[in-house]
Amino acid sequence: MKPPAFDYLRAETVSDVLEGLAQQGGDARVLAGGQSLMAMLNMRLAKPKLLIDIMRIQELRRIERKGEAVVIGAGVRQADLLAWPELSEALPLVALALPWVGHMQTRSRGTICGSLAHADPSAEMPLALVALGGEVFLRNARRRRRVAAKDFFAGMMLTARADDELIEGISLPVANGSRVAFREVARRHGDFAIVACAAMKTPTGVRLAVGGVADVPTARDWPHLEGSALDDALNAFAYELGARDDVHATARYRRDLVRMIGRDLIGEVLQ
């Protein structure tokens, strides 16, 4: 299908974007790489009156290391981040997860922040943001605010972003050598995950984050658990995620994957 009619605003500065969002509110959508939004438009699942293209704003195209965090602007494409020389040292979990985002032909255009704004429950970048405990920088014409990853995703394809807010960028904590692991099960590489899991060692134990099961990517921290205590904890977590049957997999299969992959990854990071 073809997109519905809309005005197209080619923004040169962030204030152009904020002005457009302030005027049009819920009828405006920010267009970055377009790899989620354009599909939504073509299928007419979104019908905005105004599209605000932010990809000519140079200040949003930066990847910056600021102390113990990496700040990624709204215009940074997935392929840009994959090609960032510091990626595997600073953000090893993102380095593992990013090749699973779409295909080479979509990563070349799609942005990191666009994937977060779209908030598909089985997408990898939202999972990485939650697993790492990152922050989202939101801005409208009047103020800026920061939202923690766990509060950002409000439901399936729903976020804490208000209609007049731009996701200006995100911040992800630098790894500092802590061990991480990532695994995904999908019908084909590049398809949306049936289950995706990320694990990392924390100062007090271990964290497992799961995507593709609940409405939002969900992280859980545990102290060092072993043997049947770990099995019980994973089993309880798998049920709490409220898996559902769909055309891709049964709820039972998803719980199985959470238990099996969870156990494997926790083993890997605690090794």
């Binding site: 073809k2 005005d7 979509t106 070349s108 255009r109």
Partner: protein
């Protein structure tokens, strides 16, 4: 800041396979439709129109791009390359195209334009790919005729041929 009104047509100019082109488009017009309907460049095929099948893949400023997930207005001033730009002349096929022909890497040909563009771009950056890398790249395309095996064979053969051709030139 430029605001293009929904109900009127606006000029879009870019370079297509090295030649400047120009047309008019409403903001909602997809690049795939602009190429085919406004410019008559029908080499780019349109399959699923939501970014899954890969038939409409083109190169915009060096980036592999789904032209069905891109607006014509977005590429104003950019450099585009499509399947029409692959053959060295009207009566000769390029190395990759010849390898497709030799290996029967196409049957109905619907997906071929996108696959050729992806492979051409990929081989230019990665002259010695492994089979696994080619398979990963092809995960972004859907072909219902070939079963992919001849496409992989053609891609590896073309890569080898391009590399040896380059070596010969640099030795000479």
């Amino acid at each position: 800041m430029t605001r293009l009104k929904a109900d009127s047509r606006h000029a879009v100019r870019f370079s297509l396979n090295g030649k400047p082109v120009e047309g008019e488009a409403e903001p909602r017009m997809l690049l795939s439709d602009f190429l085919r309907h406004q410019l008559g460049a029908t080499g780019t095929h349109v399959g699923c129109e939501h970014g899954v099948c890969g038939a409409c893949t083109v190169v915009v400023d060096g980036m592999l791009t789904r032209s069905c997930l891109t607006l014509a207005a977005q590429v104003d001033g950019c450099e585009l390359r499509t399947v029409e730009g692959l053959a060295p002349s009207a009566d000769r096929l390029g190395v990759l195209q010849q390898a497709f022909r030799r290996n029967h890497a196409l049957q109905c040909g619907f997906c071929t334009a996108g696959i050729l563009v992806s492979l051409d771009r990929y081989l230019a950056k990665n002259p010695a790919p492994t089979e696994a890398e080619i398979r990963d790249l092809l995960s972004g395309h859907i072909c219902r005729c070939t079963g992919y095996t001849p496409i992989i064979k053609a891609a590896l053969e073309a890569a080898a041929e391009l590399t040896s051709a380059k070596k010969e030139t640099s030795d000479a």
